[in-house]
Symmetry: C2
């Protein structure tokens, strides 16, 4: 095993992916479709947050959802019940999606008549942050039970995201979670980060997030 | 980019890692040191569980801890306060540890006088499961807020683990978490899996876990 060769290949993969992601974003712009890449740890509430988001925006935007999972179709089945077009992407063991895989998904989803395509990435705070999917905006969810120290431990994902949703604020009383500290740590990684504390379960705070998303999508597809 | 070449390299890396992991396990056996690889999502309570584990066993076993993180030394600083030998491994952006990285860590930790070396792997349910670190046993933590569907979505990690700790049972009343279902799904992936529901915060259930670990370590180092 020659480590130098492996590093070269990794760099080529990243460089190629960045170029492919840029091409995909240009295609999306000309097609007037916004692609949102949603990332988080397993179990932080991506699907529940998406359900609330779709319910709030589906009368105003034409939405499609791609649920990426290593296995199973649990999330896609749940999402399809909202009535929006949903497909399941199986990554075949891969821990992230790259621009090529995302483009393949978009073709399957068929985005010609969509304003907003949402990619629910694989639950992972590390690898998805390293691969530009071609999304217009990256958004991550951190949930209260995960702890306020995560921006210190997983810096890259906080750097590449445009918005941070802090989910499960309904259980704040039961966890040692410092909302001011998490905001301070996250903004230290990325001063431009928009932060939305929400409870996808109770609906608290969801409107501020969906209004930001609605405005951001509208500006892109104009 | 030639996908065939990338697949070949990946296979070589895995094959080489498996061989290196086997060699490391043999070295550990002859040195009478047990290596535990602890994996989980970010924020599932690995460090708190380890603190309780170390407190419970440090009078009976000579323990050392390796805290793997992409960045920061938050966990190592916390762990060092227990008085057990602790080192921080920075993975330099890598989402997992392989056998070579683990061996390097063990050399830094210096295991000649240790019965039990514990590796707290990077918080990630996907990539760490793919790389044999050379550990004698793999253990994972799933926490109640992450949801009972995780064995359906992240099958590999449940397959490669010997024990599953279900942490944060103190917050069971506040989450829609079905303990029977999670056990059923996990045992479907791995019928031999030992399952320990615990609250690292309150201490509930911790003894059953530490007694199992103590017995397993004792059998290895005899």
């Amino acid at each position: 095993m020659d480590p130098v060769k492996i590093i070269e290949i990794k760099e080529n993969v990243f460089a190629d992916n960045d170029a492919q992601a840029e091409r995909l974003r240009k295609e999306l712009k000309s097609q007037k479709t916004f692609l949102l890449n949603l990332m988080s740890s397993p179990g932080s509430g991506k699907t529940t947050t998406l359900l609330k988001t779709v319910e709030s925006l589906k009368e105003r935007l034409r939405i499609g959802v791609m649920e990426a999972d290593i296995d199973s179709a649990v999330d896609a089945e749940t999402m399809a019940r909202t009535g929006v077009r949903t497909i399941q992407l199986h990554t075949g063991g891969m821990c992230h999606l790259d621009a090529g895989m995302t483009k393949q998904g978009l073709q399957e989803l068929s985005i010609e008549d969509l304003d907003l395509a949402i990619l629910e990435n694989v639950g992972n705070l590390v690898c998805p942050a390293e691969f530009d999917t071609g999304a217009v905006k990256n958004v991550m969810i951190l949930s209260v039970p995960e702890g306020h120290d995560k921006p210190l431990k997983y810096p890259l994902i906080f750097t590449v995201c445009d918005a941070l949703i802090i989910n499960k604020i309904d259980v704040l009383p039961y966890f040692d979670f410092d909302m001011e500290k998490v905001k301070e740590y996250a903004l230290m990684r990325n001063p431009k980060l928009k932060i939305f504390p929400i409870s996808a379960k109770t609906g608290e705070g969801v409107e501020a997030w969906t209004e930001w998303l609605h405005q951001t999508v509208t500006e892109w597809i104009e």
